[in-house]
């Protein structure tokens, strides 16, 4: 693991974390060593359990993207319409560069914000109520049916963003999911990830299961291998993991 002490919530997202690796190790962004970076990324994702799990989802999505790229790197390259080989990393590189561009602008905005905070606008305005209210006849002067319709739409639209967040508490722990995975591996020697999570309806449950997987991989209880399908992988039991205790 890295010699640097890093808290994951310091990063704005998975792209930010990847950019950090690239900067720290002085990697060529056009030639990212994908195995190395995937490994490191997964290590960090493993730390996510210290964080709120809403953030974890985005990191885990990136972990699966990295794993997919890693697999594609081993396969014969796809070719574009001009016959050139397509680097499986292209999309990721473009995303990283685009993100970096806005990251720089964010710094500038932050600087502008600090400057603006030093200004105070003039305060203390007492409106002069001696002025009579305007005659109603002038209020709807020159108004067309289009204006009317437009205003209606805006009034309705302004209602939409008021989303009420309903918090549904799902009691689920990493340890529980570790048991769940091990139970599955008792029945069968190998199980695919998709199959493992196929009955799960809540995103959070899948996320926790993934973390449990990483945990088990880390302590050497299970192994992971690539499945035939690009978006899946196989989990199998390791013999020598039996002496490792799971903290409960």
């Amino acid at each position: 693991m890295s010699i640097y002490k890093i808290k994951l919530d310091h990063f704005e997202g998975p792209l930010d974390l990847l950019l950090f690796f690239i900067k720290r190790d002085e990697l060529d962004i056009y030639d990212i060593p994908i195995s190395k970076i995937t490994k490191e990324f997964l290590e960090y994702v493993n730390l996510i359990k210290m964080l709120d799990l809403e953030t974890a989802g985005d990191f885990i999505l990136m972990a699966s993207t990295l794993m997919r790229i890693k697999v594609r790197m081993l396969l014969p390259r796809e070719v574009d319409e001009r016959g050139g080989e397509i680097d499986p990393r292209n999309e990721l590189v473009q995303a990283l560069l685009e993100y970096k561009r806005y990251k720089e602008l964010t710094d500038e905005l932050s600087y502008m914000e600090s400057n603006q905070r030093k200004l105070s606008f003039r305060g203390n305005f007492k409106e002069d109520f001696k002025v009579a209210p305007p005659e109603f006849d002038t209020l709807l002067k020159d108004i067309t049916i289009f204006d009317l319709a437009k205003v209606f739409r805006i009034a309705i639209d302004n209602l939409k963003p008021e989303v009420t967040h309903e918090v549904k508490k799902i009691n689920i722990t990493i340890d529980e999911q570790i048991m769940y995975i091990l139970d599955n591996l008792l029945k069968e020697a190998e199980v695919s990830f998709i199959k493992l999570v196929s009955d799960m309806h809540e995103k959070i449950r899948i996320v926790i299961t993934f973390i449990a997987l990483l945990e088990l991989t880390k302590i050497g209880k299970i192994g992971l291998k690539i499945s035939d399908g690009f978006n899946d992988f196989i989990i199998y039991k390791l013999e020598d993991g039996s002496n490792i205790q799971i903290n409960n």
């Binding site: 203390n124 305007p134 209020l139 709807l140 049916i145 289009f146 319709a149 209606f152 739409r153 009034a155």
Partner: protein, 217 residues
């Protein structure tokens, strides 16, 4: 008292959202520069007087007024009619916006009760309803069956006449408006793209007519 405090006093009275008592000004200055700073209410008063005589000399449009609770900036009387005009324009705009919004919701959601209307607008609508009733743009069409049986409002013939509509069915659908209401730039771009497409079409047609084996690029 240091001269710099005259400017600080000016800045503080200027930016405050309320009348500032002299004691607050002193507290602030000591809070930042330390308790050992010597500054009294009399110093404040003198600074304000000095500021005001600066403003007078320089013909500024404002001055600092001392009222019971403290200090406050105010514009000079001679500009009252200009300022009145500007604020009147502003309140006019606000009112006409409110009238339009109320009327539009009634038009599209009719018949509608006051509670429903208020929940959409997020503000009390008594004044707007009575004004619109007064002008006969809306009327009462009955009572709702819901709790409290509130009155139902709908638009009138007068409303149709006002907007030169034959019937309510002629009102634009919210969906149609949605399409029109894209950003100006977006519309402009869309127009350009469409114009280009039409031009290309026209060019192609003319080219097709003259020679039939002309490859279009």
């Amino acid at each position: 008292m240091d001269q710099i405090y005259k400017s600080i006093i000016e800045a503080l009275i200027f930016s405050s959202d309320d009348v500032v008592p002299a004691a607050e000004l002193i507290k602030t200055i000591k809070g930042i520069d330390g308790d050992e700073i010597k500054i009294t209410e009399e110093d404040i008063e003198k600074s304000v007087e000095s500021l005001n005589s600066n403003y007078e000399q320089e013909n500024r449009a404002f001055l600092i007024k001392k009222i019971a609770e403290g200090y406050i900036f105010a514009t000079r009387e001679e500009y009252a009619n200009y300022i009145g005009f500007l604020t009147l324009e502003k309140s006019k705009r606000r009112l006409s916006q409110a009238a339009l919004e109320t009327l539009s919701i009634i038009a599209y959601k009719q018949p509608i009760t006051k509670p429903e209307l208020e929940s959409i607008r997020g503000v009390n609508c008594d004044y707007m309803l009575s004004t619109l009733l007064d002008k006969k743009l809306i009327n009462i069409s009955g009572r709702s069956e819901t709790v409290g049986r509130p009155l139902l409002y709908k638009t009138t013939k007068e409303f149709l006449k006002y907007f030169a509509l034959n019937s309510l069915a002629d009102m634009p659908k919210p969906r149609e408006i949605e399409e029109i209401m894209q950003d100006e730039d977006f519309l402009e771009q869309k127009r350009k793209i469409m114009m280009n497409a039409i031009e290309e079409e026209v060019e192609k047609e003319t080219a097709d007519e003259t020679s039939n084996d002309n490859e279009a690029e």
